[in-house]
């Protein structure tokens, strides 16, 4: 039977001016205070390069616009 480890933590005071964060997402956490235990899971699956971030999806150019670009008159 392994002997238990005694872990004694002494916390000091904390003072922070300001925290600016763009996003807290996909099972993440911003904790200001003490926490007993955390169990966070995040799966994603689709390869990152196929993700479009933004309000408008970049739709492909139509044929006539492409031909105009290649041979400007």
């Amino acid at each position: 039977m392994t002997t238990p480890i005694n872990l004694n933590v002494t916390n000091g005071p904390v003072s922070v001016g300001s925290i600016c964060i763009l996003g807290v997402s996909s099972s993440s956490s911003l904790l200001i205070g003490d926490t007993e235990s955390l169990t966070l899971y995040s799966y994603f699956d689709t390869p990152p390069e196929s993700v479009i971030v933004g309000n408008l999806a970049p739709l492909p150019l139509l044929e006539e616009e492409e031909s105009e670009e290649q041979s400007p008159t």
Binding site: I19, S29, D45
Partner: protein
Amino acid sequence: MSIQCRNTTLLRLFVNTVSSSGIVQLGDVSETSQRSKALAIQRAIANYEEDEFHFASYELYYLPKKTLQPCVPVNFQSCAPLPNINIGFVRAVGVSASSILRVGCGGPLRAESRIKHIRQFNNRVIS
């Protein structure tokens, strides 16, 4: 496991959006459990043959959760002779997909998020 909770003081908090099982918790909490699945299929040519709009069709959504095996027993104690946490201003644009922004002390926190996406365009290359 015994933790001594400290006093948290926050002067100003600005959060723009809280969505998809996100939590903004002000104060102490005993336990939190969140789950968010998502899917988001966007195809140039629709595909109605496969059953692709149900979570059960994708292995991602029923993968077993891995857990840490307890290796050594730990007696954990924490004490705080000067128990004050002072934060001036917190600004977060978004809290989403089973995440938590908590100001205060808290017990076990469990969160799970399984997004998928599938963005598929036809043969054109998007530059």
